[in-house]
């Protein structure tokens, strides 16, 4: 039944939609960096949207299937092949018994998601199978995958794959503008600083990872240097350390911080953050909280209607 990792790629972990209810113990949500792509991959093979899938980063994994299995790839295109046949993104496909799925480098986007029908069979820790690499728990032994790992899979009887409507993925395709609302410490920053943030491009530092997206560009400075009393950090918060180079905190983020938060990525755009690559440029656009919530609801409706009935 299981799937064997022949080559783990650059950084591959088991993820789901994250772990909730434990940030007060210092435990970050973890889960897929691009949650929308993980949901779509699961729905394509017929799983519930929160089942454990594989997240691959920049360079994909090579997996050997002991038995036939329906799978789907979403997110960044990693040029996947089974033998010599290309595997298309956003489609449920069958990997035959003994088949080898080879995922390559991603030319655009940063993360690919592989869902298998039934899902990977790893134990839930604190209600989630997401890998917490810093805490070393969840997923497979709390770590990134390595060559030779065996991934057990759950029974896939009575699960039916489904297809996306033609062009459905266009609605969530990548773009280089990420929308934000003003953050918890917005009053610390002058109007000119917000103008700077919303008019200047920022590039993604190669120091970025699942804990945070480090940005390089125009320095953002608070009106005065005062000390913030450490508080909890929401997912997607943009905090400004002393050097003025903002950091967007991400799925494996520290749960508390002492830097002012100027802005916060809207939940409907978090999947874009998960697909930004080192050295790419990004721009930030302001929306209101009400607009952000409307966009999130719109995205949810889109997902409900994206599949062929």
């Amino acid at each position: 039944m299981p799937i064997r990792i022949k080559n783990p790629g650059m950084f591959s972990t088991i993820q789901d939609l994250g772990r909730y209810g434990y940030t007060h113990l210092g435990i970050s949500p973890a889960g897929a960096a691009d949650r929308l792509s993980l949901r779509i991959a699961n729905l394509l093979v017929g799983n519930p949207d929160n089942v454990s899938a594989l997240e691959m980063t920049l360079l994909g994994a090579t997996l050997e299937f002991e038995e036939r299995r329906i799978v789907a790839l979403t997110g960044a295109d990693c040029g996947a092949k089974v033998a010599t046949s290309p595997v298309r993104l956003g489609e449920a496909v069958e990997v035959p018994a003994g088949g080898v799925l080879k995922c390559g480098g991603m030319k655009t986007g940063a993360r690919s998601y592989l869902a298998v029908q039934g899902g990977f069979d790893v134990p839930a820790v604190m209600g989630s199978t997401a890998t917490d690499v810093r805490g070393r728990f969840g997923g497979l032994e709390g770590r990134r995958l390595k060559a030779g790992d065996i991934l057990p899979v759950r029974d896939a009887h009575n699960i039916r794959a489904q297809g996306l409507k033609p062009g459905a993925l266009d609605a969530v395709s990548r773009h280089d503008t990420v929308r934000v609302t003003r953050g918890a410490q917005q009053e610390w920053f002058a109007p000119e600083t917000f103008e700077l943030l919303f008019s200047s491009p920022y590039s993604i530092s190669d120091q970025s990872d699942r804990t945070g997206l480090r940005l390089k560009g125009e320095a953002l400075r608070p009106r005065e240097q005062s000390q913030l009393l450490t508080d909890g950090i929401p997912l997607g918060a943009m905090q400004v350390p002393q050097d003025g180079q903002p950091i967007v905190l991400f799925v494996d983020q520290q749960t508390t911080g002492g830097y002012p938060k100027i802005a916060n990525v809207i939940m409907a755009d978090m999947h874009h953050v998960g697909q930004l690559r080192p050295h790419e440029q990004v721009r930030f656009q302001e929306v209101t909280i009400a607009q952000a919530i409307a966009l999130l609801q719109e995205q949810e409706r889109w997902l409900q209607n994206a599949f062929v009935a």
Binding site: L25, L229, T230, D231, G232, Q254, I266, A292
Partner: protein, 224 residues
């Protein structure tokens, strides 16, 4: 109390602007009141020094509705903790191997190293919040004599269980990690266990005392 929209899915409730055990007791009271509701739409509640972050599923509940729940919790249940805080006595071995900065701290404070241990084990500390890594408790109440800034350059590796000091705070590294705190000892306790419920030894609002143990006791406790 100020209710600040921190994101489209989070409210930051700010109860004051100065660190004090009394204000923090109100933060914990509100934390416990909201937690006690077991509302599945509320995903995370995170106390800070003077604030509580409420993270919620914006697809299921609006900011207004959540604000109303918070206001109700404040007025109906008050913001006093519903129970006495736990007092947790943490055993610590202050052996120089475990506490490589103990001597520096002693000379910084101009007292003998034994006096550092005596002062550190005499105080009662308050867990203000957990953060940095799973189970890392930020504790206030460190006697002023032991205050010392963090290391200028953090260490690349600090063993799990190591007890440190940073400014006016003391804390325990629950798992191996990098760290810039002044290291003075180590507990044989496992401070974070992902399989336990709750997974951390310390919770926000707990009170903590340290008791000194010798190397043999440390070894025996670490093995059991």
């Amino acid at each position: 109390m100020k209710v600040i929209p921190a994101s489209d899915s989070a409210l930051l409730l700010v109860l004051g602007d100065a660190i004090s055990p009394e204000l923090h007791a109100r933060v914990i009271g509100l934390f416990q009141a909201l937690r006690g509701r077991h509302d599945p739409r509320i995903r995370n509640l995170h106390p800070g020094y003077t604030s509580l972050l409420v993270d919620f599923d914006a697809r299921q509940i609006s900011h207004e509705e959540l604000s109303a729940i918070v206001e109700h919790a404040v007025s109906a249940e008050g913001t006093q903790p519903e129970r006495q805080p736990n007092l947790v006595r943490v055993p610590v071995c202050y052996d120089p191997e475990f506490g490589p900065d103990l001597v520096d701290l002693a000379s910084h404070a101009q007292i003998p190293p034994e006096e550092v241990i005596h002062i550190h084990t005499s105080a009662t500390y308050l867990v203000y919040f957990l953060g940095f890594s799973p189970g890392f408790a930020y504790m206030g109440g460190l006697p002023e004599k032991l205050h010392m800034p963090r290391l200028a350059t953090p260490r690349g590796h600090v063993a799990g269980g190591t007890v440190g000091i940073a400014g006016s705070q003391t804390g325990i590294y629950p798992v191996d990690s990098a760290g810039g705190w002044r290291l003075i000892g180590r507990t044989p306790w496992r401070m974070f266990d992902s399989g336990a419920e709750p997974p951390t030894r310390l919770q926000p609002g707990d009170q903590v005392q340290f008791s000194a143990i010798d190397r043999a006791t440390f070894t025996a406790m670490a093995q059991s």
